[in-house]
Every structure is written in C-alpha cells, then in structure tokens.
Amino acid sequence: MLPIDPAELSAYLDGELTPQRLEEVRDALARDQVLRQTFDQLASNDSAWKAQAKTVMFQPRVQFARRTSFDWYGKAAIIVLGLLLLRLALKTFPPLYAVGFEIILLAAVIGWGLQRIMHATDSDCGRYARIQTS
C-alpha cells in the first residue's frame, strides 16, 4: 500500500477517493493514531466552515431567458426591412447611389460586431476564467 498523502485525507473527507484507495485510507486511519487526530481536526474545521457558509445560501429571484422564434424570422424580417429602406432612400435621394455600396458594407460590419458582442461564446467564457485565475 502506498503511504497516505495528507491531501488524500481531504479527498477522503469529501468522498472523492476511488473505492480501493478509500479502503486503504480507512485502514490507515484505524491503525495510525496521529493520522486519525489530523483527520479529526480536518473534519471538525470542515463541518464548522460548511455550517458558516450555509447561512448565506439563498434562492436568488431570477428569470430564465426565453429564446423565441425571433432568432430566425426576426433576422430575416430585419434584412428585408433594411433592403426596403435602402431602396426607398436611394429612390428619394439619388446622390446616395454613389455611396450605396459603402453603406451596405458599413451596415454589415456593424451588424456583425453587434452579433459578436451580444452573443458570448463558450470559448469567451473559458477565456474569462483563465484571466481571473492568472
């Protein structure tokens, strides 16, 4: 049997050891008085901290987001509306024909940027986590 690493006492306390290792630690605790005392102290602290932390558990009043069919129908409607408005603007102000392509390009870039900002991706979340742990 491998010697018991002190960190394994924590894992034993948390019920996170493999069944085989759990048996080995249990046997060692039964045999070794010093190890037992260390474990008892760990368990006593753990239960006190758990009790303290439990006092702030509360049910947050939150609302779950509801995604609607706006995602697809809405996007299509916005594109059609945008094209109609553009056509109307070009008919009303013919000089705009000269910059029509630039307007479409600019609108596409702005739309893409907004889409990126409003829809955080999974990898974005991972990146945040790495920043705050470093």
Binding site: A7, A11, N45, M57, Q63, G126
Partner: protein
C-alpha cells in the same frame, strides 16, 4: 427549429434551476451582499444561456456555469470600484444579511488567502462543488484540485488559529 430551441431552453433550465441556491451562496461569497449576488446570478444565467449551444454536454454543467458566475461577480466588483454604488436591500434581504454574520467571519478569513486558495474554498464551501466541478470551473486537473484544496484548508485553519 423552434422545437430545438425549446428543448435547449428546457435542458438549460432543468440543469440550472436545482443549483440556484448554491449559485446564490457562491455569488454572495465573492460580492458580499445579496442584491449584487442576485444580479450576478441573473447576468450569468443570460450569458450561460447564450453560450449554451456551444457548451459541450459531456462537461460538468455546474463547473462551467459557476466559472461564468465568478466572472460576472468580478465584473460587478470592478464596476462597484469604478463608481460608488448605493446598494438597495429590501427588508427580506436585510434579514438574510443579519443571519449571514457567521459567514462574514469566514469571508474575512478567506480574504486573507491568496486568490488561488480562496477561489477553490469558495467553490467548495459556498458553491458546494465536487472535485470534477471545481476542475472544470478552474480549468485544472482533478489531482491539482485535491492538493490545492488541502493546502487551502491548511492555510485557512492557520488563519483561524491566529485569530
């Protein structure tokens, strides 16, 4: 398509709803009051829901979501530092704050630890996370979770002994 969205929505809510109370406690451990904790959990729900399509269902949901909660809490703390904010607490929450006095002692002790040790204890005690959840949330192997958690407990008990 709307069926897929509805199924995704149900799946998300089914996973998140049972964890709300632990999410609240975890957020509280970082921001220190119920109002901000509630805001952070709400914000994290929106972010997590938006990212849920890209979330790998094989990974522990709790660890993934709690990493987002942590980021929302840190953002909130940064905003709070940049502008003085009046925190409005209603009567029900004031009662909750009074009952949280003992947790405040724990938070003060945790504040004396290094960020690496503090965050793992917050996940364990306030968030009730398993080793797998913590590994996912902190992006470290489970073996590192075990050794870091033990080191954190040792450091915390040393602080308590001094006090």
């Amino acid at each position: 398509m709307s069926h897929t969205h509805d199924a995704g929505h149900c799946d998300f809510q089914k996973r998140a709803e049972p964890l709300l109370s632990q999410a609240g406690g975890y957020a509280f451990s970082i921001v220190g009051n119920h109002t901000d904790a509630e805001d952070a959990v709400q914000e994290s729900l929106l972010k997590a829901y938006r990212a849920f399509d890209g979330y790998d269902r094989c990974r522990p949901f709790k660890g993934w979501w709690f990493a987002i909660i942590r980021n929302c809490c840190l953002d909130l703390l940064q905003q709070r530092r940049s502008r003085h904010r009046t925190v409005l607490v209603d009567e029900a929450h004031q009662v909750a704050v009074r009952t949280a006095q003992s947790a405040e002692t724990l938070r003060e002790a945790l504040a004396q630890l290094t960020p690496l040790l503090r965050e793992i204890l917050e996940l364990r005690y306030f968030g009730g996370c398993s080793y797998q959840d913590m590994a996912e949330s902190l992006e470290i192997p489970v073996g590192t979770v075990m050794s870091r958690l033990h080191a954190a407990r040792q450091a915390l008990s040393t602080i308590y002994r001094k006090e």
